[in-house]
Amino acid sequence: MFDVEKVRAEFPILHQEVYGKPLVYLDNAATTQKPQSVIDAVRHYYERDNANVHRGVHALSERATASYEAARDKIRELLNATSRREIIFTRGATEAINLVASSWGMTNIGAGDEVLVSEMEHHSDIVPWQMLCERVGATLKVLPINDAGELCMDQLDSLLGERTRLVGIVHLSNALGTINPVKTIIEKAHAVGAKVLLDGAQALAHLHVDVQALDCDFYVTSAHKMYGPTGIGMLYAKEALLDAMPPYQGGGDMITMVTFEKTQYNDLPYKFEAGTPNIAGAIGFGAAVDWLKKTGIDAASAHENDLLAYATEKAKAFDGLRIIGAARDKASVLSFTIKGVHPHDLGTILDREGVAIRAGHHCAMPVMQHFHVPATARASFAAYNTRGEVDALFAALTKAQELFA
């Protein structure tokens, strides 16, 4: 039984007032708050186990290494990856995409080849490919979205071809909340011999992901959007791909032998983890995975879906409100504009009511261009939000509208 009050009790940051009003945190698509268990895991590491990993012969280093590697195992299990060798720690989803674009892209994408992304991608799944295409003379193609904020799947076949090397698709859109039919996209992409990268930055806190069942080639995410710390994320890639890829960065930990003539690279996953990693972050990431499993992704997402449905109903009845993104398959995100009130003014006014939302382009400027809006306001839900907080959001919106009347 999902008990939201019990969940809330685990998040110390939620129990505070902002400008004399109870904090209503609805900016979860930007970053989620952290449960006590994640804060404790990071704190325990620094208080008891802090040491460098993989080479120490002392107790602390052995403990640090064990916790760091245990986090990798937890993530492998969460994603149902075949092997722990397929889980590479990165700074976040952005670095993971850059890793793939640099290492795999530079080796496998050449002049005249094509990379296909969608119109709803976050800038982090556009710009690295744009940079790669410019460097090698490849072409970036775009799968458009419709006015409901869904991918135009009927155009996919004509955009995929024998020159398509990679398809980069967001699993759950941060700007629209759309859940994309990634399984179908992967099947169609594989049929023309293209690899698929899924941007799961937004997805893992809300959806079950099984990389084997999906058969995706690359999956990336950031821990901080799934109750973990900032500055840590991961790349999942099929082992055969990682084996064939050259290292992304050179340095310590990614080698087995260095001479001035020749360097022998380390085995997976360490080949892609040059330098001292974000050990505390990885341990916190592992704790976040534990928390998600304990709380139950299904139970949490059912609760969030209820909040989204409740908020959407209220939004539809709200005078002058336009919902941006009305996909049939949606999670967690309510993006909208209000007639006569700019999203940034909404953001400021709501803030003074204790309600934290995001106002802006959500790092998805092409989405704003599609809907002909400079920005949207976005409320995004997590496991600890309540219907009462949705009510507070709409009360604050009414206040904003009155202020501008």
Partner: protein, 151 residues
């Protein structure tokens, strides 16, 4: 306790709803773009300056939040009949007001109606909304080809 009405004063709400001097001037000899990449606000300022260096007419176009639209509207009202030098000085005073300590009273004698925007001091993330039009004005005065930014 700071009230939202201190930021969104009725004058600002009115200027946002019906901005003055909005649209392209039929006859102008200076212009510039302004852009705030953080929030996507875009402005374009047109100036008609005579041989004596006096601003005969000024207008703006663009989209943005209430603070940025009202600020541009109030600015264009305030600039008519001022010399280029006077408008630059006014920018200095406005910039000072927007970033000064809360207990410092804005200079009403120099800034006149523009003092209604003093409330942005309490909202650090919104100061740039109020100053974008002034940066754009300066770029127009100096005939800068690249869009003005608030940095």
């Amino acid at each position: 306790m700071f009230d939202l009405r201190d930021l969104y004063q009725q004058v600002i709400v009115d200027h946002n709803k019906s901005p003055r001097n909005f649209g392209k001037l039929a006859d102008f000899n200076h212009e510039a773009d302004g852009y705030n990449p953080l929030c996507g606000d875009k402005l374009h300022v047109y100036l008609k300056v005579n041989d004596a260096g006096v601003i005969e007419d000024v207008s703006f176009e663009g989209e943005g939040c209430a603070i940025s639209v009202a600020s541009a509207s109030l600015m264009t009202d305030a600039l008519k009949g001022k010399t280029m030098q006077e408008s630059e000085d006014m920018f200095g005073h406005f910039q000072h007001m927007a970033t000064s300590e809360l207990d410092e009273a804005p200079d009403e004698e120099v800034l006149g109606k523009l003092t209604v925007l003093a409330g942005v001091r309490e909202f650090p993330s919104r100061i740039k909304c109020a100053t974008l039009c002034w940066h754009t004005l300066l770029a127009a005065v100096k005939d800068r080809p690249e869009p003005a930014k608030t940095e």
